[in-house]
């Protein structure tokens, strides 16, 4: 191979490597993606979102919290799914490790200081959770199973901004 040919080959290699596209727009899913492990479903919104809203997010507890100290034992710890602040029904995906989950819920967070255990009751509200149809108990029985390598679809629930509950509602008395 001549020097010119080697140079041309190197340029062609560089061009070929460079032509490959980088990140591209990815449409939000409307059903559980193939290979996804976790839960998916549709959230519907009721009521006007409060002006003091910082964010609304979905998390799951593998056992229903027994005390305020259990409140931070939700999954996923790092990357809970953020919900839009109202609007049309929203298809969500929540990545979870395989297992048994007793409470899949939406949490409303108020604008304010950095969240910690002592101000959780002030800043957080339960604003909707998944329950089995026909269950009318206070917490509902909404057990969700996530099997290894698969996703669990149709974990649908309603986020009701007019009916949000403080943490202390579950661990009375409220101050």
């Amino acid at each position: 191979m001549t020097t010119r040919a080697r140079g041309a080959a190197a340029m062609a290699l560089a061009a070929a490597l460079a032509c490959n596209q980088g990140l591209e727009p990815a449409l939000a899913p409307t059903s559980c993606p193939h290979g996804f492990v976790g839960v998916c479903g549709t959230v519907s919104f009721v009521g006007q979102v409060p002006e003091s809203t910082a964010k609304v997010f979905v998390v799951a507890f593998d056992t229903f919290p027994r005390s305020q100290n259990d409140l931070f034992k939700f999954k996923p710890q790092l990357d809970p799914t953020i919900l839009p602040l109202g609007g049309p029904p929203f298809f969500y995906t929540l990545q979870l490790p395989p297992g048994h989950y007793e409470w899949v819920l939406a949490v409303w967070q108020k604008q304010g200081p950095t969240l910690n255990a002592t101000n959780a009751d002030t800043l957080l509200r339960e604003t909707g959770f998944y329950r089995d149809r026909g269950d009318t108990t206070r917490h509902g029985s909404g057990i969700v199973i996530v099997n290894a390598g698969t996703s669990t679809d149709s974990i649908d629930f309603v986020v009701d901004f007019t009916n949000m509950h403080r943490v202390c509602d579950y661990f009375r008395p409220c101050p």
Binding site: T3, G7, A10, A14, L17, A18, C19, N20, Q21, G22, L23, E24, P25, A26, L27, A28, P29, A54, K55, F72, K73, F74, Q77, L78, D79, P80, T81, I82, L83, P84, F90, Y92, Q95, Q111, G112, P113, T114, L115, N116, A117, T118
Partner: protein, 738 residues
């Protein structure tokens, strides 16, 4: 007698005294066949002293300042030759050269330079260094038309920047700027932050940078903590005699997102800046001052930045063997912080899974003010032709305030340092370097407090003291140079007990017909930063808790390398390297708490190859640099094994430049393979890095115009999770030099 006449008389007397105490370097320049070479140029590098040979090939350089100087001989059509010469006051030293043709069999030879490096805390030729050193010269800095030091070093072989955090052979990975495993030196003075251990790459204006040396592999045997994976030494410009000035104006524009659905503003973002440098020098005193600033709209939402900087340097040479230098810089940045990009639901996502140019609505308004500066004073003296010593003191100060919704964090840190070093040449072929170093870091902060309560209103102060002594000896045995040395560091935190770390190193260079072989084995270590020990904050939903009991992380690092000319037009430098790391400090998640712990035992091994070619087209040069990296965390009782996060297995840089008269064009292509593993958001899409930079320049007398098109293909990618890497950016720099 008027004061000006008195000054003139004193100046004349001082000059006469300088001449009386200076030295002479003399010799001959011959060609390979043995004949003398007339009109060859011989110069003392780094000075204005030069001459031409006579018809017998003889030359004489005087007055030469005593000390160690590099003498270069060159002639058109021949490869330049260099020699390191040690001269004492009043001495006469011979340095003769034989020049070799730069064209063999019709092909031009590749000339690799510059050749002087300071990796061993003293000047030495590049091919005498026992570890790999990459040099980014002022020519390359200018040619690349970059704005900051990190942009200039980013394309050096084996070096990769991740959102401002430098990696040499994969040393650091990415830890949000904390705890760099690379040590930054400014003219040999340590400049890592006193609190976080990270690096402010905008500390020194690029205008003032002469060259950057990147020392690869553990350098703790000379440099101590942080030189775990390598050392980056930024060397500022010498100040020339007479009046000089430089004005540099730049302007540029960022490309808009390549897809309409990603658009986030209705205008094109710009960037503009201005730097002015002035200097004046005589043989006795020299001084320079640089000031400037720039503004950037940024290439994504909430990414605007203002930067202001000033730097000054003064040199006083009271005697031919003594030089006193004082320098300092200050930089202030006010910038919006884009944090992480917007994911679905967190902003107006337009029906997409993520919006890489936008941020979450709740992060709006996050802002940082960062001020940093340093002062340093250096006394250098050549006591005799066998002994030179230097003493320095330094002060580095950083201050940051992070303004975000709900909480403001701040930290004010100081790092005071002092060093006394001597370089002795007791016999021919032997060089001994010894020294002692002190450093004291302190921080006053509301985030690195060590407080374990849940409140964030506590303000705390912490200190770390370091005491060190080191020594290294080099001996020439025929064609081999052997080096051995060690450094012992004592570290005390908050006035507590001292913990000691010993860092030895052995190395050698052997010159053969197959090039120069180098080998080294040494120990590296990094003391945990005050931030890693005492950080106490909340990163929702996590509480980050302190760990005052962190131990230094350590490593054994070795390499075997060879630099050789493969053909008349091809120069190669290759090195195999291996690092065994112990007690690496990593963030560890336990329930809702994050804590820095000594958790990881790791192995980083691989191969560095750098080729420089001069194809048979006049004016064309090309280079290739490739690094293969095997980076694995080894399994232990407390941590599983697997790939180390944020390390690419393959790192490739192709460069080419073509010069025709006053015009030059060129480009770099960088490929970094997709990270096998990242921390945080590991299920996000991620791609390899494939970035093409193009450049063009025109020089006409004192004016030059340089254009740079960074990321010319507007390749959209991220290195750090949910942080968009820079998009296509066009910049034009106009420089006037007096």
């Amino acid at each position: 007698m008027t004061s000006s006449a008195l000054l003139a008389l004193l100046t004349a007397l001082a000059s006469a005294a300088l001449r009386a105490q200076s030295a002479v370097v003399y010799g001959t320049v011959h060609v390979e066949s043995g004949g003398p070479l007339r009109f060859a140029q011989v110069v003392v590098m780094g000075s204005n002293l030069g001459t031409l040979t006579d018809s017998g090939g003889h030359y004489r350089l005087a007055p030469v300042s005593p000390g160690v100087v590099i003498v270069r001989a060159r002639f058109i059509g021949y490869v330049p030759a260099f020699d390191t010469v040690s001269v004492a006051a009043g001495d006469s030293v011979e340095a003769s050269f034989v020049l070799h043709p730069s064209v063999i069999d019709g092909l031009p030879l590749v000339v690799v330079g510059p050749v002087v490096v300071t990796a061993a805390k003293r000047s030495q030729l590049l091919d005498q260094a026992v570890t790999s050193v990459a040099v980014v010269s002022d020519t390359e800095l200018a040619r690349r038309a970059v704005s900051t030091v990190d942009e200039a070093v980013d394309k050096a072989p084996g070096v990769q920047f991740l959102n401002g955090q430098v990696n040499i052979r994969g040393s650091t990975g990415y830890v949000q700027g904390l705890g760099s495993r690379v040590l930054l030196l400014v003219d040999g003075v340590p400049a890592n932050q006193g609190d976080r251990g990270g690096i402010n790459w905008d500390l020194v204006p690029l205008e003032d940078v002469q060259r950057v040396e990147v020392v690869k592999g553990a350098g703790s045997s000379l440099y101590g903590s942080s030189a775990f994976g390598g050392v980056v030494n930024v060397i500022t410009r010498d100040i020339s005699v007479g009046w000089h000035g430089r004005v540099r104006a730049s302007g540029g524009a960022y490309a808009n997102p390549p897809y309409d659905v990603w658009r986030f503003r209705d205008y094109t973002g710009g960037r503009e800046g201005l730097d002015v440098t002035g200097s004046y020098g005589t043989n006795l005193v020299r001084g320079s001052l640089t000031a400037g600033g720039w503004h950037s709209d940024g290439y994504r939402e909430q990414d605007r930045q203002n930067h202001w900087q000033a730097a000054a340097k003064g040199v006083w040479a009271p005697g031919p063997a003594t030089r006193i230098t004082a320098s300092g810089s200050w930089a202030s940045d006010q910038y919006e912080v884009p944090l992480v990009w917007c994911t679905r639901g967190a902003c107006d996502d337009r029906g997409l899974t993520y919006q890489p140019f936008k941020i979450a609505t709740q992060d709006t308004g996050t802002f940082t003010r960062s001020d940093k500066g340093y002062l340093t004073a250096l006394v250098e003296r050549t006591s005799s032709d066998h002994l030179a010593w230097q003493a320095r003191g330094s002060w580095l100060r950083t201050r940051f305030t992070d303004l975000r919704q709900g909480a403001d964090d701040y930290g004010i840190a100081n790092r005071l340092g002092a060093e006394l070093r001597a370089v002795s040449r007791p016999t021919a072929g032997r060089v001994v370097t010894v020294g002692a170093e002190l450093a004291r870091s302190d921080v006053r902060t509301n985030i690195f407090t060590g407080d374990t309560s849940s409140t964030d209103t506590v303000v705390g102060t912490h200190t770390q003291a370091e005491f060190a002594a080191y020594g290294e000896s080099e001996q020439l045995f025929g064609r081999a140079r052997l080096t051995g040395g060690a450094r012992v560091d004592y570290i005390a935190v908050d006035g507590g007990g001292l913990s000691a770390v010993v860092s030895p190193r052995l190395g050698g260079v052997l010159t053969t017909s197959r090039g120069a072989w180098r080998a080294s084995l040494g120990r590296g270590f990094r003391a945990p930063s005050l931030a890693e020990r005492f950080v106490s904050t909340t990163v929702p939903p996590f509480r980050v808790i302190p760990n005052p009991n962190l131990r230094p992380e350590t490593a054994w690092s070795g390499e075997l390398g060879n630099a050789t000319r493969l053909s008349a037009a091809l120069h190669a430098d290759a090195a195999a390297f291996w690092t065994e790391a112990y007690d690496l400090i990593e963030p560890s998640v336990n329930g809702s708490a994050i804590q820095f712990r000594n958790v990881t035992r790791a192995r980083l091994a691989g191969l560095d190859v750098a080729l420089a070619a001069q194809p048979p087209i006049r004016g064309l040069t090309a280079s290739l640099a490739y690094t293969f990296l095997y980076a694995r965390a080894l399994a232990s009782d407390s941590a599983p094994g697997g790939p180390l996060a944020f390390r690419p297995k393959h790192l490739l840089t192709l460069s080419a430049d073509y010069q025709w008269r006053a015009v030059s064009v060129g480009g770099d292509f960088r490929y970094a393979s997709r990270f096998e593993r990242v921390e945080l958001y590991s299920n996000d899409d991620r791609v390899a890095e494939k970035v093409l930079d193009l450049r063009a320049s025109l020089e006409q007398g004192p004016l030059s115009v340089r254009c740079r098109l960074a990321n010319a293909l507007n390749y959209i990618y991220n290195q750090v999770p949910r942080t968009l890497a820079p998009v296509r950016t066009l910049s034009v720099t106009l420089t006037w030099t007096y």
